[in-house]
């Protein structure tokens, strides 16, 4: 039985105090490039108070379809982002994966890939899911490569789904099946 389910090589998954998360989120939100890589909702900034209320509501509700974690570096214990399995469809054994590293100094260091490995192991050996899905914007090639490395397979594109900077962009969707993950692990 794996004793360190939430630990990877470079990062570990954590649960944070709402105040800590709120402060981090509202700081990262100021980086509009980060926001536009993460989300299709118009980039906006929120007060720390509001973000804290949302985080508390999520943590209070204990939604059965949401598993949300912070990502901390193992070397310095620095909070660098968040990762989640959201919208778990239990009867079908499937969930959506979302990740964001809000601290741009961390991009390109393998932290994202490591966090994804940790959460896939959690999804397939603790939640016993059979499939994990995700979507990613065409203009985020770094993330696309990261997902490909983690074993996700391209499944299609929602053409011209996004409208940003005067251009239309596709949203790519990818998936990994448990049997595929078992071969890589």
């Amino acid at each position: 039985m794996n004793s360190d389910l939430f630990c990877g090589e470079l990062v570990r998954l954590t649960v944070e105090d709402p105040r800590v998360l709120a402060e981090a989120f509202s700081r990262w939100d100021r980086d509009s490039e980060y926001m536009r890589l993460l989300d299709s909702f118009p980039a906006l900034q929120w007060s720390t108070k509001k973000v804290q209320e949302w985080v508390e509501k999520d943590q209070d509700q204990l939604r059965p379809d949401l598993f949300m974690f912070g990502i901390r570096t193992r070397s310095e214990d620095r909070l660098i982002g968040g990762i989640s399995l959201d919208g778990v469809k239990w009867a079908h054994g499937e969930s959506f994966l979302g990740i964001g590293l809000g601290d741009r100094t961390c991009w390109g260091n393998g932290y994202g890939t490591d966090a994804i490995r940790v959460i896939l192991r959690y999804a397939f050996t603790e939640l016993n899911l059979v499939r994990v899905s995700l979507d990613v914007f065409e203009y985020n090639p770094r993330a696309i490569r990261c997902y490909e490395k983690a074993g996700f397979v391209h499944e299609g594109r929602l053409r011209k789904f996004l409208d940003r900077e005067g251009e239309r962009w596709d949203m790519i969707f990818m998936g990994i099946l448990r049997e595929e993950w078992e071969k890589t692990a």
Binding site: S40, F41, K89, H92
Partner: protein, 175 residues
């Protein structure tokens, strides 16, 4: 076909009735099939109206000839800044399937979406085990954009989820 707005009491009755047909429910929705009382469905619909959001539009479908209420069609997850939305449709009574009602309701909805809401793109998901709907969407102009492999499990096996989309420029060429 015409698209209408209905009293929650009317929609609730229709919903509960069609909800008893488990094949309909499983063609429509990936959530586990459940049964509901009319009282509860009516309460939810009323609550839903109170918190009307600008990101959802639901219409009932009535046949022009007889004015019979046969189903619903709707838009959800409208992202105004991106100009796109997801749509869903359901005809609750199997005697109404295969008559062109769905395709016609889709035409009305798409016209509304592209000329009234001025969106740029409509997406939808359909179960691999629903070929009738797939054909209907293709006829209406939707293109297959990919498959989420083995997304669903029902009746002891796994099924793909098919994703389709139509762009405004494609729709304009059809009309």
């Amino acid at each position: 076909m015409r698209l209408t707005a209905e009293d929650p009491a009317v929609t609730a009755e229709q919903f509960v009735r069609s909800n008893r047909d488990s094949e309909y429910v499983r063609l429509l929705d990936n959530t586990e099939a459940r049964l509901w009382s009319v009282k509860k469905v009516k309460e939810w619909l009323e609550k839903g109206f109170e918190k009307e959001t600008p990101a959802t539009f639901t219409f009932s479908i009535r046949i022009l000839e007889s004015d019979r209420l046969i189903g619903f069609v709707g838009l959800g997850g409208v992202q105004w800044s991106q100009g796109d939305a997801w749509m869903g449709i359901g005809l609750g009574d199997r005697q109404d399937w295969g008559k062109g009602y769905g395709t016609d309701a889709l035409r009305v909805l798409l016209r509304y979406i592209f000329t009234e809401l001025n969106l740029h793109r409509v997406s939808l998901g359909v179960f691999e085990y629903n070929p009738r709907a797939l054909r209907s969407y293709e006829k209406a102009g939707f293109r297959m954009e990919g498959r989420q492999r083995k997304l669903y499990e029902r009746e002891g096996r796994r099924w793909d989820g098919i994703v389709m989309g139509i762009l405004r420029e494609e729709w304009e060429q059809l009309a």
